[in-house]
Point group: C2
Chain length 332, copies 2
């Protein structure tokens, strides 16, 4: 294959497009290295292609030999659950890289627009995230189908809000950078590949000392009290650290659940491998959704001042009376 396609959720200029650009060097390197028929392979032939629906991205990777990029988790909104469900269901698709994109909005105008701006346009979520800026300038809000569409379709007298890459893409003038109300929102994206190609995309991460993180879906074949505890006992006994864990109803089957865990290990490392063997031998179901280089992150102890208001516990040891009083407040 002489050129490869990386699909992302469009239109051009979306945050997913910005994430795809971060993955591009890795895809180019892997394509150059694995295409032995063309050692001087032109890396620039890798194409970033917008898709209209995420389902088209999964399909292109699953049967079309393409790569894909999907939004995975936002630090404020949590998991992008439909994408998580899509990855659980996709047959020959696995995540093999993870990047973060800061959710920052720049304010754009047409390059030669001399009109005083009176309107601001973006997706309703974008508008909601930049209200201080909008109110300061006294602009009228004009909802758009997406931030990128707002930037593409901007007219004189309007300010469009969108990711930084929209300025260059649509030839706009930047009026102001970083106009979002809340600093610190970020979304993580996964690079998707066919299973047999995923390892080649991790080249460069594979130092002997490299540390990995895996996202794994488990489905216990029985339900009831303690099913999950039994599963987690296996992970604990192997000394595996989890950094994220959620349950999800199995699509179309009310009352059945899968569990999705992010674990500080790669499935080919022996301590994690033996847990997976154990789970399969028990008759439970398991699927590796993603493996990628572990990101640096803090792991601080929780101290009392970090705790939310209104709960019980989390302090020095309590007398039986104190415990009873604090507990009583939890009964509503």
């Amino acid at each position: 294959m002489s050129s490869r396609t990386v699909y992302y959720l469009g239109p051009q200029g979306s945050f997913t497009h910005a994430a795809s650009k971060q993955f591009l060097p890795r895809v180019q390197r892997a394509s150059g290295e694995t295409d032995s028929a063309a050692p001087s392979h032109d890396a620039a032939s890798t194409v970033l292609q917008p898709a209209e629906h995420v389902s088209q991205i999964f399909e292109a990777v699953n049967v079309g030999g393409a790569f894909g990029v999907i939004a995975w988790e936002n630090n404020v909104e949590g998991y992008v659950v439909p994408n998580l469900d899509g990855l659980i269901d996709a047959h020959n698709v696995v995540g093999c890289g993870r990047v973060s994109v800061n959710i920052e909005f720049d304010a754009f105008m047409l390059p030669d627009d001399v009109a005083e701006p009176t309107e601001v346009t973006a997706h309703p979520h974008g508008l909601a995230q930049c209200r201080t800026f909008t109110q300061h300038l006294g602009l009228r809000e004009v909802p758009a189908a997406s931030n990128a569409a707002a930037c593409r379709d901007i007219i004189s007298g309007q300010i469009a809000l969108g990711p930084r890459i929209c300025g260059e893409l649509y030839g706009l003038a930047t009026k102001q950078r970083g106009v979002q109300d809340y600093q610190g929102s970020r979304t993580d994206f996964l690079l998707l590949a066919p299973r047999n190609e995923a390892r080649s995309l991790m080249v460069g991460d594979q130092k002997p000392s490299a540390e990995y993180e895996s996202v794994v879906a488990f489905i216990p074949l029985s339900t009831g009290a303690g099913v999950l505890a039994g599963l987690l006992d296996l992970l604990r006994d192997a000394g595996l650290n989890m950094t994220s864990f959620i349950s999800r109803p199995i699509k179309g089957h009310d009352g059945t659940y899968s569990f999705i865990a992010t674990i500080d290990a790669a499935p080919w490392q022996s301590h994690f491998r033996s847990v997976l063997e154990n789970i399969i031998e028990r008759g439970d179901w398991v699927k590796t959704l993603a493996v990628y280089a572990r990101q640096e992150r803090p792991n601080p102890p929780v101290t009392s001042w970090m705790l939310p208001d209104g709960g019980a516990g989390g302090r020095d040891s309590l007398s039986a009376d104190e415990t009873a009083t604090r507990l009583q407040a939890q009964f509503i």
Copy 2:
């Protein structure tokens, strides 16, 4: 207090507004029964009031003695995580009721509009959920800030998409019912109350045989491998069944986590109470976020045909070779 206010996320005609109407009889009953100074209290004085931001709802319940309604979980999108985080952080606020609203869109027009419709208007999510209808009629999409705003601001020649209650609220003619592409999306909402009033809102659910469900947040005061497993062992050993479980980073403290579990019991029932005592005595932190009457739901065993493609395990017992082969496919 002679009249009570129930805040929901507006504008009028939102799905949260529809959920609030479902909670109204319960709030009226509780207000009538608890207001001993006015036994013939006019239940109709309970007011449903739209709020502009969810934070205003938490505030009104926390310090203003109001009730509130928030979106909690959608069967496709998962938890409404900002609302979950808000409830974890709110001091004197607890959920005491849960209802489901089917996410169904009706197509409305102005009542005397004889124009052939050429445009369709809704929030971009609403537009995305009704595309078959839109394409069938060949309509041009006009994004709006919300579905309710689209119905409120509709003009001649437009079709607005929104919840059923928008028809009556805005005096519109219903052109077609239930025009959403996907049948079966539903969102659950929680009724919020000050902690000392929550029990009175559960009146009628409190038969001796009543079954409850609780949503509880846990924060272990240490981090590392096995912390979560240890917590779940306590729940298992008490025979408590969990139907939902997720981890969430503690806001503003990267690398620290809270765990949110939905458990088939009420915190005042002895087997659950003793677990909570145990957790508090260990020095971990716990907070009851909600208690409500348990909904009927199926609890089927998982069988092989329900499993997604591409995983390993979940069948009859395997030989060591078969296990190894299936495992190998998980290494990517």
